[in-house]
Amino acid sequence: MAFLEVRCLTKEFYGLRALDRVDFSVEERKILGIIGPNGAGKTTLFNIISGILRPTAGEIQFQGARINHLKPHQIAMAGIARTFQIVRPFGNFTVLKNVLVGFGHRFYPGLFSSAYRFEKETHLERAREILARVGMETYQGSIAKNLPLGLKKHLEIARALALDPSLLLLDEPMAGLQYEEFEKLAGLIRGLREEGITIVLIEHNMQVVMDLCERIVVLDHGVKIAEGSPEEVRTDPQVIEAYIGQEETVA
């Protein structure tokens, strides 16, 4: 049984199909890449998996249970964390506080525990460890909205890790980063997979996708046009067709 299974997923906005009967699955501890030209429906797919949007039709199963009727916070609690392509940190919070927000469902489950302090030493310690993972330990006191884009992207990952997820959805984590940062972030993603986190990655940079992912799903105008290993996808004529004008990056 697949770890995450998406079946016949369809989403319509005002009669337009953003996603059209998309199927794919991810095995545990694997990295799946999702690629496709702009407007292919990649982010819509993430929004549906994370519960922000409801699918028009279709089903999502996570560890054998149907999740497409759950609310975003329930999906987060089930162990699915995500980042946003257009970063949305809690702007007026410090970096450390951003990470602490993700601890709620584990440490403050009930009404009465909600009244406890959120700045407990053990939690702060754990949050600092997570920040160290993404290389941001020196920024813990900075106000999130003042950070440069690259650090905001890393903060998004740190905030997602605070949920202690078993599935991580990364929406273009490399976009807007300097070239030198790519390798470091790729290393981090591999490390997370080693620890047992399953990862689904939307990415525009083909080099990164080809290097990182075991399998790749290609979307175009909401339809899955190819799926397979990086090598298979690279040589698929339909994929090359979809990327006409962008062939240089594919080849």
């Binding site: 994370s50 519960g51 922000i52 609310k71 975003p72 916070h73 999906i75 987060a76 609690m77 964390a81 995500r82 946003f84 949305r88 940190p89 809690f90 702007g91 007026n92 919070f93 506080k97 602490l100 927000v101 993700g102 709620g104 469902h105 440490f107 403050y108 525990s113 909600s114 009244a115 406890y116 302090r117 959120f118 700045e119 905030r159 605070a162 949920l163």
Partner: protein
């Protein structure tokens, strides 16, 4: 120890402080713009007045009941607010204010246009001052506890970004209801004090203009900060007394002040990004350095 006039103004300001703090929880911390806060205040005051005049309940027994009932009604009235966001929410809360006021005015049970009179207060005016002061202090402690608690963090994260909060595992609906419940519970306290201090209340006291005054207090002082809520309540509580000699221009000055503040210091007097707190932080950062170098 003070004159009756001073005490009356002081008690009124104390009640304003509690009101401003309670709205600050809903709007300042949780980010849910409420333009109908006077409705919750009115619910508290009417509840307190009815418990006192119809059931003859004493002050200290009526108090927890009023707070509980107002918190409950507040969270019930929050339900329509949960379905809508931002500007829809702001206008829905105006609507709630008008509807609640209309109920007080037109349902005979609430005394109609005559309001409710004859609420008996067990205290003298000066002891009322001390009791109000103690309640204000209790509320300040509660507020400090709230902002350091997990609820406080959850509310603020909802204010910053509702979607990001949700995908971080925060049950947005539950915490919004919590914000309205805590906030309206405090307005229940303010209503109880107001009813017993005034001994007479009517629907006019809790109209939409009052909601604007309460909102202006926290915006003036610096939204989302306790110090701002307190300062704003004091300024807008004292201002009508100071401007009494120019009675005819008082409302004009109030309106002009709102425009002026928003135009030149939109974060409020004591808001985190405003001039005064920045100066204060600068001075505080510099002084230890001076000590060390000297």
């Amino acid at each position: 120890m003070f004159g009756g006039y001073i005490i009356t103004v002081a008690v009124t300001i104390g009640i304003y402080i509690i009101l401003a703090m309670s709205l600050n929880i809903i709007t300042g911390y949780a980010g849910q713009i409420s333009l109908g806060h006077a409705a919750f205040w009115g619910i508290g005051a009417y509840c307190s007045a009815l418990l006192s005049t119809r059931l003859g309940l004493p002050f200290w027994i009526g108090l927890p009941m009023t707070i509980a009932i107002t918190a409950l009604t507040g969270s019930l009235l929050a339900i329509p607010c949960l379905r809508v966001r931002e500007d829809f929410l702001a206008i829905t809360t105006i609507g709630i204010n008008f509807v609640v006021q209309a109920v007080f005015l037109y349902v005979p049970f609430f005394g109609g246009a005559m309001g409710i009179g004859g609420i008996r207060s067990p205290f003298s005016t000066s002891s009322f001052f001390w009791i109000t002061l103690i309640f204000v202090l209790v509320c300040i402690v509660l507020d400090r506890w709230l902002v350091t608690s997990w609820i406080g963090l959850a509310l603020e994260s909802i204010r910053e970004d509702e979607t990001a909060a949700a995908i971080s595992g925060i049950d947005v609906v539950r915490f919004k209801v919590a914000a309205f419940a805590i906030g309206s519970g405090l307005t229940g306290l303010a209503g109880h004090l107001y009813a017993h201090f005034m001994t007479f209340i009517s629907a006019d006291d809790f109209g939409f203009p009052q909601s604007i005054v309460i909102l202006s207090m926290i915006v003036f002082g610096g939204i989302g900060t306790l110090r701002g809520a307190i300062l704003g309540a004091i300024i807008l509580g004292v201002a009508p007394e100071i401007f009494r000699p120019v009675l005819d221009y008082r409302t004009l000055i109030y309106g002009g002040l709102l425009i002026f503040m928003m135009r030149f210091q939109p974060g409020g007097i004591l808001g985190d990004q405003s001039v005064l707190p920045k100066l204060f932080r600068m001075v505080r950062q510099r002084s230890p350095a001076l000590v060390r170098s000297g």
